[in-house]
Subunit: 197 residues, 2 copies
Amino acid sequence: MVINKGVNSAVRMAKKERQRQLVKALEEDPFLTDEEMAKRCRVSIQTIRLDRMELGIPELRERIKHMAENNFDGVRSLSLEEVIGEVVDIQLDQSGISMLEIKKEHVFARNQIARGHYLFAQANSLAVAIVDAEVALTGSAGIRFVRPVRLGEKCLAFAKVITNGPSRLQINVQTKVNGEVVFQGVFDVYRTDEEGQ
Amino acid sequence: MVINKGVNSAVRMAKKERQRQLVKALEEDPFLTDEEMAKRCRVSIQTIRLDRMELGIPELRERIKHMAENNFDGVRSLSLEEVIGEVVDIQLDQSGISMLEIKKEHVFARNQIARGHYLFAQANSLAVAIVDAEVALTGSAGIRFVRPVRLGEKCLAFAKVITNGPSRLQINVQTKVNGEVVFQGVFDVYRTDEEGQ
DNA sequence: CCATATATTAATACCAAGTCCTAAATCAGT
DNA sequence: ACTGATTTAGGACTTGGTATTAATATATGG
């Protein structure tokens, strides 16, 4: 019996093992068709299909679709990144206010704290936006993350021009959550009609 | 004839307009089937197919597949999604290199110059990534955009730990394009097991 | 007004990569 | 030899198409 069980389990393992390989192979390359997998495992297509059923693995097209959908959501937030925060008010060459609500895509999954560069991006793009010029680019900046910002918090960035030269402005940006300063930065922004950064 | 041309162009516009809408609709939602689009445009499926042919738009499955493939390349870096750019090399608590290719979504449409916060994001996330801790957050930073970076350029960010304390590190990041420095920054990063920014 | 493009619709056969279902074959263990 | 699990096979149907051919507007040029 023990011996038989050995043989038995050898066969069972063949199945289990195949399914294990299936899962692994699809993790590595989700674009594999049942036909491909059947060839690889030297079994019939139907066997692979049964395996997928048992393992609850959707068909190729569904797998691909899911990946694409995830990606699409990502793309959405990428294009949203173009406009970091919503501009609430702007006085060209003087001041501006923008609002950014911290969402899932802005935070570290582990601790729900906003990634610094989103706060920077909000401040930076606001600073650039209030400059009255064809082209405005940040030259340098000094920034401080005063306290961590958490998921769901609404960041109000207040930008104020400190010094206003013909080709160079210094802009102070203070970001607050419920009146509490969470970020502070000074941006040196250059304006030109051609380039600079 | 002018009158006829008017009618003519009205019809032609119907087609052009429909194709314009098609492109737009698919940009907004690439998961639309021909059938759906046919209903929306109140034409036959065949017309939509012809339109796709003319416009060189691949079928639904191909579109989805492409998205999924792009995503898949990015899936590897999904765990690295924490980091903007692709990490090339990391020595924890010592140094790191990441690469970011400037694409359309990173530049100002007007002048094809990369928005500063992407360069910042690359540098910032690399700085945070090389810190060997449960949680690492940027406290402050001083940065300089040395020269503008253009569409298509590949930015290599080199991060190096300058001072390495138990709870605080100073990290210098220099970003280069073809050996030329384009960005330079010093990041104060805090490591904790709970929070801080 | 008729011929001639251009645009649209229809109809058919075919494909990939499946699902769902039924039935048969195989095989291992007792 | 029988039982139960496993594997194959087969056919019908599905989606979302391609490719091709043909018929039908529709519009404009002359």
